[in-house]
């Protein structure tokens, strides 16, 4: 049934594509954007920012056509890439791979078909395929969070860590975090996976609270987890005892930082808006003479009470 709807969708897109090519100039530059579907908060923000970028760019450059497709899994995304090349005949591809390994060869084929390729966030397993690479900085996110906690606790204290879904992203963040704390007197009481999920964050934190009588700080590394953690701490009535460091830049948490909530003094960015950065750089390839090829690593900006309003997007779903 899923395949059927997908073909139906593909047929509609094809139909629209035909209409638009006959109605408008045939030499429009087409940029395909392939991203994971909005199955969790961060990916929801990703889809929202991709749609916003599409609107903005198509209004600015009438000769550029952005086609956003979202996939529910690695194999579905591989099919999307084939469709973008053969059916849509794109000139450039912006792709945030669902997983690195299974999508390396499909993206390589797009490159071999002579398209300009921009890879976002999750790098491919073979070097030299993409023209542009745009990513957030996972080790940096771990390092910045670790530094903040170390400084704030004056180099000693007890903390707990809630990890994400067991993946490279999670491992890179946690390794850098642990490395930053090495040599200090800060004790990591335990680390458990909360799968970047509110409900899991709530339950894991409840258990940490009943297990450890003394906790000085919580590293949640993700804002969805942080929201669950906040409720668990409130329920246990231990809000004065500790603070939480999240990550990503979800509007609810940014709002709390902006309002000066003592429980969430800062947030570390890992913005889904990076898809817009990638689309903009790809568009520049076709609209300016500036060289764009290369690697762009976004900083893991620390959001504080002072600068929070620059990162607050109340309309975004994330």
């Amino acid at each position: 049934m899923k395949t059927f709807t997908k073909y139906l969708g593909a047929a509609c897109v094809l139909g629209l594509g035909l209409v638009s090519t006959t109605a408008f100039a045939a030499d429009k530059i087409k940029i395909g954007v392939s991203i994971p579907a909005a199955t969790h908060g961060w990916a929801g923000g990703l889809n929202w920012h991709a749609a916003q970028a599409e609107k903005r760019i198509e209004a600015t450059y009438p000769n550029i056509d952005i086609i956003v497709v979202s996939a529910n899994g690695a194999s579905e995304q591989a099919n999307d890439l084939e469709d973008l090349v053969s059916v849509q005949n794109i000139d450039a591809l912006v792709v945030l791979p669902f997983e690195s390994d299974p999508l390396t060869v499909p993206v390589q084929q797009v490159k071999q078909a002579g398209k300009f390729v921009t890879v976002v966030d999750r790098g491919l397993s073979l070097p030299g395929i993409e023209d542009v690479y745009v990513a957030g900085n996972n080790p940096e996110l771990g390092r910045v969070s670790g530094e903040y906690i170390r400084d704030r606790l004056n180099d000693s204290g007890k903390i707990v860590v809630l990890r994400g879904i067991p993946t490279t992203v999670d491992t890179e963040r946690v390794d850098a975090f642990v490395e930053t704390l090495d040599g200090s007197k800060i004790e990591i009481l335990d680390m458990k996976h909360a799968n970047w999920n509110r409900d899991d964050g709530y339950e894991v934190m409840q258990d940490f609270l009943s297990r450890f009588p003394e906790i000085d700080a919580v590293w949640a590394q993700d804002d969805d987890i942080a929201l669950g953690v906040i409720e668990a701490i409130k329920q246990a009535d231990r809000t004065d005892e500790m603070f939480i460091v999240g990550g990503a830049g979800m509007k609810d948490i940014i709002k709390r930082v902006m309002d000066g909530d003592a429980l969430t003094p800062i947030d570390v960015l890992y913005p889904p808006a990076m898809i817009a950065t990638a689309i903009d750089i790809t568009v520049m390839k076709f609209t300016s003479n500036a060289p764009v090829e290369g690697r762009y690593i976004l900083g893991a900006t620390v959001v504080t009470k002072e600068n929070a309003k620059n990162f607050y997007f109340p309309d975004s779903p994330f």
Binding site: H40, G44, M191
Partner: protein
């Protein structure tokens, strides 16, 4: 010959009565075992705070699983409950947020939200039931379809992100999850009430006996003048109602719903039912077993959080192992072999 037959009959009779005893006790024994294990691992396990956490968490899956006991006993299956819970949570939040503008963030708003939840639950259950019975489609396929539909609907409503309940309403609604009566958390009381009602309905009413009959043999039930379609549809309606009750206590917990709400709850609910001794193929159901099954599932997760002896990456393996062992213990085949 006849004495031999009688002898055989008496053997099978004694062994089966022995098995039934063991089956009824099995899940309870497994739970006691888990509690001993938990206490041995960390003495914080038996603290009143931790126990109250376990029972409160078990309430969601437990209430849904009580409904699933009816569906499975009558030979059906419902895979849509997790998505249904996410969809109903989302719809409740949207309705209540909209009402804040006209009614304000008061008790009325919450009551209307609760009413919407109950109506949606009953309607969703009726759809699953009617389409599978009147449409003559296997329940597996119907509920697999509705599972995808509800999941997409909540993603669509949330625009791919998260639906958050208005903070004013959250304050009013909060006691439904965080409140307690005489020290017992409200969700646990609701869970207990649902279980008692489920027990009475399944074991002491003609409706319950019809569920058993249909699950054992649908054709025979039909010939015995049981309105099979009506009874089966009703089991799905009960399931929908249970999902809506679980949702009503879930929403005030974090005040949000997203596409990741309730993922895999259907499998947890079915697992709780089977651990409790209900037959997956239908014909036999046990509500108290289901209750214990749901508590066991939450307890396993809790124990794993209380220790760092087991690698986090192996959590799923430990859970799987305990579930299989628990069911193996209560099936009792291994005892019969020994006695031979």
């Amino acid at each position: 010959m006849s004495s031999l037959e009688r002898n055989e009959a008496s053997i099978s009779k004694t062994s089966s009565s022995f098995n039934i005893d063991f089956k009824a006790l099995g899940p309870f024994l497994a739970l006691v075992g888990l509690f001993i294990l938990g206490t041995a691992i960390n003495e914080a396990f038996l603290s009143s705070g931790n126990l109250s956490n376990i029972f409160t968490r078990a309430a969601f899956i437990g209430i849904i699983a009580v409904g699933a006991t009816f569906v499975i006993t009558a030979g059906g299956i419902d895979l849509s409950v997790g998505s249904m819970a996410a969809f109903i949570s989302g719809a409740m939040i949207v309705v209540m947020n909209t009402l804040v503008a006209t009614l304000g963030a008061g008790v009325e708003t919450v009551l209307i939200g609760v009413l919407v939840s109950i109506l949606l639950g009953i309607a969703a259950g009726a759809i699953n039931g009617l389409v599978s019975t009147k449409g003559k489609i296997e329940a597996f396929i119907v509920t697999l379809g509705t599972m995808g539909i509800y999941r997409s609907l909540v993603t669509y409503m949330a625009d791919g992100g998260t639906l958050s309940l208005d903070f004013g309403v959250r304050g009013v609604y909060r006691p439904i999850y965080y409140g307690d009566v005489l020290g017992i958390p409200v969700p646990v009381l609701v869970f207990f009430a649902v279980a008692v009602a489920g027990y009475v309905l399944l074991n002491m009413t003609p409706f319950g006996r019809k569920c058993f009959a249909i699950g054992s043999n649908e054709q025979v039930a039909r010939y015995s003048a049981i309105h099979v379609d009506r009874v089966k549809t009703l089991t799905y309606v009960i399931q929908g109602l249970c999902v809506s009750l679980a949702t009503i206590i879930y929403v005030p917990r974090l005040g949000s719903a997203s596409s990741s709400t309730g993922v895999l709850w259907e499998l947890e609910a079915i697992a709780a039912v089977i651990i409790g001794g209900t037959m997956l193929k239908g014909g036999y159901g046990r509500i108290w077993g289901t209750v214990v099954g749901a508590i066991m599932l939450t307890t396993i997760g809790n124990i794993l959080n209380l220790t760092d002896a087991i690698s986090n990456y192996l959590n799923g393996a430990v859970q799987g192992l305990i579930i299989i062992v628990a069911v193996f213990l209560q099936r009792g085949d291994w005892r019969r072999k020994k006695s031979k």
